[in-house]
Amino acid sequence: MRMAIVPVLGLLVGLAVGMAVNVRLPIQYAAYLSVAILAALDTVFGGVNAGLQQRFDPRVFLTGFFSNTLLAAALAFIGSLLGVDLTLAAVVAFGVRIFNNLAAIRHQVLQRKKIPSQQ
């Protein structure tokens, strides 16, 4: 139960802080921010999947989150410098991973729910 409450609570706190901050981001930075969010979501879903499989490692989770986020944003930035839309590559890669993680989570959740009913 705590595993579900803690992320939701953290998300709400982060949303409140992010919306309360009085900054105005130019449209040019929107792509970097979007890719960074996508990478962060991928890491979160990967962490949830690992937690369900009882192999969650906080060090891997934290390093994966920040490295993926920063690397995704950096990749988008480099792509804009090179004139290649590398944002698309990041979106595809993270999108595939997110769906895979979601599928794994779904399977884990369904198996867990089946086990008590089978017993």
């Binding site: 953290g10 982060g14 802080v17 992010g18 981001l25 929107a30 906080p58």
Partner: protein, 245 residues
């Protein structure tokens, strides 16, 4: 899950929430719209600048008009002061203001000590007073009054016989400015005292009055305690008006 894992999960969630919150602060105004807004504001600025010239010229014209009005007002003020000064001068000349200065005061009164002229029953006092006034004016008198009645250009001195019950030769009534004045008569005249007295002596008016049983006393005032009151009678204009007005 261990507490460390929960802390890591919480930190990542907070960071993700912040990233999502920042998404709301992205300025998603289209570039075209921004450019259009820039163009419209630029046009508005140009229009305002063009209007500034017009307003500046209108302001300058208003300033010039204000200066002109102030100048005219100044002229009118100066003219008003001149008119008031002229009015005071004219009132002084017309005898509408009291005057004071050096002069003579003449007292004419019946004197029973003087020898009686047989058969003298009346004296035309108005004519006698007119003679005195004429002599004084000939000597440069600037203001004359008889028993407090100021003589002006429209003044009259006339005798009305038969109105007095007195038995002496001063049996008539003299009207000055239409107002009755009774003997003894006191004539106040402002002017050079010596010249006024000299003309009275030269004309021998005193002797003439003495013959008519009237004492004729002249007092000289060289430093000016003589005060002649203002004319308070009616002014022309009630019935007579200037032609063309």
């Amino acid at each position: 899950m261990t507490p460390v894992s929960l802390k890591a999960l919480f930190g990542v969630s907070v960071t993700l929430g912040i990233l999502l919150g920042l998404e709301f602060h992205v300025d998603r105004t289209p570039a075209v719209q921004a450019y259009t807004s820039y163009l419209s504001q630029s046009e508005a600025l140009n229009a305002a600048l063009a209007r500034t010239g017009v307003l500046t010229r209108a302001l300058a014209a208003g300033d010039a008009q204000l200066h002109a009005l102030e100048e005219v007002s100044g002229h009118a003020r100066v003219g008003l002061v001149d008119l008031r000064r002229e009015l005071v001068h004219l009132e002084k000349q017309a005898g509408l203001t009291p005057l004071s200065g050096p002069g003579v005061r003449i007292r004419i009164a019946f004197d029973p000590k003087l020898p009686t002229i047989a058969g003298l029953t009346s004296v035309d006092e108005a004519t006698q007073l007119q003679m005195v006034v004429g002599a004084l004016q000939a000597a440069g008198a600037q203001a004359v009054a008889i028993n407090g009645q100021r003589l002006v250009a429209t003044s009259s001195i006339r005798s009305v016989h038969g109105l007095s019950a007195s038995a002496d030769p001063f049996s008539g009534v003299v009207q000055v400015n239409g107002q009755p004045v009774l003997a003894p008569y006191e004539i106040a005249a402002i002017g050079a005292p010596d010249r006024l007295a000299a003309i009275l002596t030269a004309e021998a008016l005193g002797q003439q009055f003495n013959i008519l049983e009237q004492s004729f006393a002249v007092s000289l005032f060289r430093r000016g305690p003589i005060t002649v009151p203002a004319y308070t009678g009616p002014l022309p204009g009630k019935y007579a008006t200037e032609v063309g007005m």
